[in-house]
Structure formats: C-alpha cells, structure tokens
C-alpha cells in the first residue's frame, strides 16, 4: 500500500512503535524528536525521508493525540524553535536544495539549530521590498553588506533566512535574492535592540563583507521575493486569530484590576465614567472573540468573508485602550514602575502579577499597532483587498530600485 492511503489506525500503531523505540518519559526532547523525525512523524504531510510520510496534514493531529495518550511528558514545544519550525521548514521544503532538505530539516525539528528571519531593515519597515542590504557575486560566494533589524532570536540562531538586493537596476521586487545565512559566519554582528520597556526582545544584525556560498541561495537569483512570500505565508501570526475564552486575556486582567481597586479611591461619578469605559472595552473584547469564531465558522462552511481580516487592526487598537484604561484604574499607583527598566533580555519579573503585567503591557502594547504590519498598512489592506478601493499612485512602480528615493 502507498503511504498516502495509510489509515489512522496504521498511523497510530506507527506512533506506538516510535514510543517503543524512544519514550518521552525516558529520553530527552532532542533524542525523542530526532527519532520522531526519522520515523516521518515530525510533519506527516512532508515527504518520506524529510520528517514526513506524505500524508494529509490533518493526520498530524492523530500523531499528537496518540503521543498524549501514551506519554506523561510531551516533547512538543513549538516554542523551542518557532521561526525554524513555523517558517524555516516549509520554506526549505518548497525552495531548498537537496543538501538543505537532508541536513537542515531534521536539525530544525530537533531544535539543534535555532532559526531567525532577516528581512526588515531600518530603511525598510512597512516597505520591506524596498530593502537595501546588498549582495554581490564574487566567485562561488555572495558578499553581503548592510543592516537588518527587529530580528527575534538572532542572538541564539544558527541560521538566518535573509533577503538581500542582488540587482539594484531592477524594480524593487525583482532585484531581491533569498539566502540562508550561517549566523556564525565572520562579519556577522548581532546587537540587542532595547525597547520602551528597557528589555531587548529583538536584535539588530550587521553584515560586514559576509560571504555566503552561492549554493546557500533559495530559489533563483532575483527570485527572492517569491521565496519570501512562502516564508511570510507561514508566519504563525496568532495575532487576532486565536479565539480566547470569555474574560480572558487583557480584558480579564483589566476586570481584575477594577475589582481589586481600593474602595473610595474614586468618586462615585469617576467610577461611573470608568465603568462605562470598561464595559465598552469588555464588549469590544467579546465582539473580537465572536468575530474570530465567525471567521472560523465561515472557513468551515468554505465561504470566508471580511470577518477574518479585521482582527489584527481591531486587536491592536483594543489592547492599547485596555491597558490605558488599566493605568487609569490604577490611578496614582500607575506613577510607579516596580519592575524597573533594566536593559537586558526579556525577564519574567516585569510580567509577574497582575500589577506588574498591567504596567508592562501598557508600555509593550504600543508596539501592537506597529509590529507585524502597522495599523496604517492594515487599513490599506482592508480598504484595498477587502473593500476593493483603488490603491495610491505609486511613484516607485516599475522604477529601477536604485532610482527610487529612500531614507538614508
């Protein structure tokens, strides 16, 4: 029989076989996930030999279920290599060469190699395709120079998915190529990028005459944007997508803060005003949940409407309002920032406890309307793709990249 027709029961027995070989309760995650990969149970929809069995993606749920049934420990933490597993693997499978698929997919799944994404640049924010990092061919290598920014995990990554400009004479989308960068290469410098909270979730990455072997290019020269689309399509943007539980998330904390307020600290009138605001925020939070539920229901019935597209914009706005309101509820207590602003990698204590979390989120949420597409860009997308309104005049359209005005 061909694996394509493998039944659920056959798959379950294959999982039990894996558990005979290596059991999560007895071996570490690295060892177990290696075996899981070798048995084609990492991504069952991937081809045989690449961590899969060529099955329908839905079948992966069967694997996870069987693992949950037969083991206490679950070595399924996607977060151990989110970008590698979420975006790297599908990109390598679709556009990578044989060497990449053979060598890298397994190490991605085991978490041996952490991956990061090197697209954004200081001069290319909303306009990513306008990026400036230069890649020049030199013998069997490409030599790269320039700076990337907003790179999560760069400081612990082995591989970076990098987009660079290899032909400035073509219009911006057409002059890009896509590389796999060994983050340990000479000339790669990673610096923490501190944000409003003092913490550094992200990095700046500087490339100074970094050499990348030509066979580390994904897709053809000048075909980088198409490859980048694959990566971005797989960006696991939970933003606005997840359906939380009632009173969960930000609004839940706000309600806790409200109910924990010091009696008498507010006048009855001030309480009434704040209560009306909080109720509005509660309603919006619920409606955001319902709207994602509608989106999911519509996907099932196969005719998804606009309800799926509004989440990111609405969530960013709502989250900021909620935390602003939280600070108003805290009143003078909001003058104090107990956790302090220490310049370092994200640490727990700024988010432990309702109070610390509220203050941290008040600051952190300012990024919600910027990261993963600014609210201005989201409104363009809603206006143009969903409502069918015409785009703006585009002075950079069809113009050689080198001739398009850009920030220094």
């Amino acid at each position: 029989m061909s694996l394509g027709e493998m039944t659920e029961e056959e798959l379950r027995s294959r999982v039990r076989a894996l558990l005979e070989e290596a059991h999560p309760d007895r071996v570490d995650a690295f060892t177990f996930r290696g075996k899981q990969y070798d048995n084609g149970l990492a991504w069952v929809h991937f081809p045989e030999g690449y961590g899969g069995l060529g099955l329908n993606p839905k079948m992966q749920a069967v694997v996870q279920d069987e693992l949950r049934r037969n083991a206490e420990t679950q070595h399924d933490d996607m977060m151990l290599n989110p970008i590698g597993i979420g975006m790297g693997a599908p990109t390598v499978l679709t556009h990578g060469n044989e060497w990449m698929k053979r060598t890298l997919l397994r190490r991605i799944f085991t978490g041996e190699d952490i991956w990061c994404q090197l697209f954004s640049e200081p001069g290319a924010g909303s306009d990513v395709a306008g990026l400036s990092m230069r890649g020049v061919r030199d013998g069997d290598d490409w030599v790269l120079n320039g700076q990337k920014v907003w790179t999560s995990l760069a400081h612990v990554s082995k591989w970076g998915m990098l987009l660079a400009r290899t032909d400035p004479d073509r219009p911006k989308h057409e002059g890009l190529s896509y590389f796999l960068l060994d983050m340990e290469s000479p000339g790669v410098e990673v610096r923490p990028l501190h944000q409003i909270t003092g913490e550094a979730e992200f990095n700046e990455v500087f490339l100074n005459d970094v050499r990348i072997p030509a066979d580390r290019m994904l897709g053809a020269e000048g075909d980088g944007w198409r490859v980048a689309i694959t990566t971005l399509m797989n960006e696991r943007t939970a933003i606005g997508g997840a359906v939380g539980r009632r009173g969960g998330g930000s609004i839940g904390i706000l309600l806790e803060l409200w109910n924990a307020r010091t009696p008498g600290s507010l006048s009855p009138a001030a309480e009434a005003v704040l209560r009306d605001r909080i109720t509005q925020l509660y309603i919006r939070s619920e409606l955001l949940r319902f709207t994602s539920q509608r989106a999911k229901a519509a996907q099932k019935t196969g005719n998804p409407g606009p309800e799926g597209s509004v989440g990111k914009l609405a969530l960013a706005e709502l989250n900021q309002r909620i935390w602003e309101c939280g600070m108003d509820v805290l009143g003078t207590d909001s003058l104090v920032y107990e956790a302090g602003y220490r310049r370092r990698r994200p640490a727990g204590e700024s988010r432990t406890g309702r109070l610390a979390l509220a203050k941290y989120q008040f600051l952190r949420s300012r990024a919600n309307s910027i990261e993963g597409g600014t609210s201005e860009v989201m409104r363009n997308i809603l206006g143009e793709r969903v409502l069918g309104l015409p785009g703006e005049p585009r002075p950079d359209k069809g113009v050689p990249w080198k001739d398009v005005p850009r920030s220094a």
């Binding site: 109910n259 509660y282 309603i283 319902f290 206006g383 005049p393």
Partner: protein
C-alpha cells in the same frame, strides 16, 4: 455551533433580499415614509402570502412558519439594509413574542393566526413619558371592572401604534405589571401619530381614558416582558447591523467611482481608512447581532440578557458612525434630501434610542457581568 449559518439560512437571506429589492426600493421607501400609515398594505399582504414573513417565528400550529430568532435576525438584517418601512418589528417580532410568552392560550389562538396571515397589526404599548423601557417603570394603571379592566394613562413612542388593530398594553396593577389586550376601536382610546425624526418608522402616543382591556396572561408579566424586550433588542440590533452594512456599501461604491483631482476618492487614505474603520465596526456589529440571535435561539435567558444589552449598545453606535461617515464620504451630495444617506442617518439615530440607548444598556450589562 455559534455563527454557523446553514445553506437554508443563506437561501432565506437571498429570497428576502430579492423580495425587498422589488418591494422596498428607495422610491417605495420614500413614498411610504411620506404617508401617514407608514407602510404599504399590498406589500405587507404579499410579504405574508408569498413569504410568510409576518408569521416567521409563529408556531406552525398557529399558521406560522415556526422558525426562530436566527431566521428572524436574518430577515431584520435584510430589512435594515433597505430601511424597509412596515410593521415587522412591532407585529411580527415584539407582539408575536409577547403573545407567545404571555402564556395565554386563548389570546394566542385568536391573535397569532391573524398576525401570521398578515390580516392584523398588533403592537406592544410599553414605554411611557421620560421613556424608560422596563416593566418596573410602567405607570399606566389598570383597574378591575367586572370581567374586564379599565386602563388609565398614556403610552409614548408606540411603534406603529397609530395603525395597529390590537394593542398589547403593559399596565400596573397591585400584583405588579400585567398585559392587556385593547381593541383599536375601543372607546376612550386616543391615538396620535408623532412627527418622527426618522420618517421610516412611525411612532404614536396613545392615551387611555377608562379604556376597557382584556387581561392576557398572569397578573405579573414582568419576567415575560423582560424576555420579550431582550428578544426585541436582538432583532433590532440585527436591523441596525444591516443598516450599517448598507452604509458601508454605499460609501465604498461611491469612493470607488467618485473622481476628484484625477483620482477615485477611495484612493485617498483619508477616505480609504475611514472605510476600513467602518468595516471593523460593521463586522463587530454583525458579530454582536448574530451572537444575540443564537443566544435567543437556545433560550439561554441569562446569556441572552447580556448578549442583547451588548448587541443593542454596540450596533446602535456602529450604525450611527457608519451613517455619519457615509454622509461625510459623499460630501455635499450626502447632505441632500435627494440622496438616501440622510434616511439611514435618521434611522440610526432613532433606533439607537428606541428600547434604550447605549449608555443605558452598558449600565445594565455592567451590573450583569459584575463590573
């Protein structure tokens, strides 16, 4: 499952939309809104005979279609889109629910078939001066008088009260608030059509001077009335969501085709982003209305109460914003009598107040969720 509309639902929506496109064009709406009756009798009859809409949620045993709040929300949403002028809310929604919930078999048996067949218009007379909508606020009094009762007082903002054949009147009695059936022809009944801000929904003041009424249901109908009101809010919210959707469509259609400075105005972010923000509110409004409809459908009284406050509070504001932005996007044209934009604007404003405004409903909701 929540928000899972069936093919039958989509079919119903399409049928209703086709019917309304034919029967409730802008021309028809303008003609009817200028009339005192405020609706077209032939259309209403056709709506009953061809579509069975007046009896949509009347049980089959009473000659209705026996469908529920979800189907009703779909119908109201479609009616809201075209500002349908007719006694649907008053008769097919509020009055039908009142009779269904009042627990009076005799009244049900006499009146529901009349409603379903489109022969009778029935409306609930609840609100009074000062305009509170809760049974507790009813001041109009009923006194026993032999077999029947005599009603004394005035009802305000009674939807279609000037044309209704039968009035269901909430009146105060020692035991609490009870419901009375009053014939439109009864003596001591004075009905005044109010000059409304929103010409597409008629309201009347009804003065009762020793008017005789027949009590229906129990001596204390407050719980039933609360349920009737919650279901009415859900239906009205769906109508508002429909109106908001239509405003967004009008605005985007215009923004796509109207050219200034050699560009479609919709290519300017000032307009494009206004439309995008409208889209978010419209989708939220639909979510609110649908959620309330689904809660009404599974008769979860507690959750329905919260959901209906939520829906009415949000859909009222979403519709008003959409209607105001639609005028703005149309510029001077949107401000003229000839253009329909102002009709939606007035409907939005009026429906946001009918059965309680957003602040009122948020206050009720806050109490329920313990904020």
């Amino acid at each position: 499952m929540d928000f899972a509309f069936t093919p039958e639902h989509d079919e119903l929506r399409q049928t209703v939309r086709r019917f309304l496109d034919k029967e409730s064009s802008e021309t028809a709406v303008r003609a009817v809104m200028e009339s005192d009756r405020g609706y077209d009798e032939r259309t209403w009859t056709r709506m009953a005979e061809e579509m069975a809409l007046p009896g949509l949620s009347v049980p089959e045993e009473y000659g209705g279609a026996g469908l529920g709040p979800i189907e009703r929300a779909i119908v109201m949403e479609e009616m809201g889109r075209v500002l349908f002028c007719g006694p649907y809310l008053s008769t097919a929604v509020v009055a039908a629910d009142t009779l269904l919930l009042a627990g009076d078999d005799d009244a049900r048996g006499r009146l529901l078939p009349e409603i379903a067949s489109g022969r009778a218009l029935v409306t609930l007379a609840l609100g009074e001066e000062g305009g509170a909508w809760e049974p507790a606020d009813v001041r109009l009094e009923a006194h026993r008088d032999g077999a029947s009762h005599r009603l004394e007082g005035t009802k305000e903002f009674v939807v279609d009260g000037h044309v209704a054949d039968v009035l269901l009147v909430a009146a105060r009695m020692d035991a609490g608030v009870a419901l009375f059936e009053v014939d439109a022809g009864a003596r001591g009944l004075e009905r005044t059509l109010l000059p409304t801000l929103d010409l597409t929904r008629k309201l009347a003041r009804i003065r009762f001077s020793g008017t005789s009424g027949r009590r229906i249901g129990s001596a204390d109908a407050a719980p039933q009335l609360a349920m009737v009101l919650a279901r009415a809010l859900a239906a009205l919210a769906a109508e508002q969501a429909g109106g908001a959707e239509r405003c967004l469509e009008m605005a985007t259609d215009y923004a796509r085709t109207r050219l200034q400075f050699g560009r479609a105005i919709g290519s300017f972010q000032a307009i494009k982003h206004k439309c995008a923000d409208m889209l978010v509110e419209v989708e939220f409004a639909r979510s609110a209305a649908y959620y309330a409809a689904f809660r009404a459908a599974d008769e979860d009284a507690q959750e329905l109460a919260s959901a209906s406050h939520m829906a009415k509070a949000y859909c009222s504001e979403a519709f008003f914003h959409a209607a105001a932005d639609n005028i703005q996007i149309h510029g001077g044209m949107g401000f003229t009598w000839e253009h329909p934009a102002h009709l939606y604007f007035k409907r939005a404003r009026a429906s946001s107040v009918l059965f309680g405004d957003p602040v009122y409903h948020r206050e009720r909701l806050a109490a329920r969720i313990g904020v």
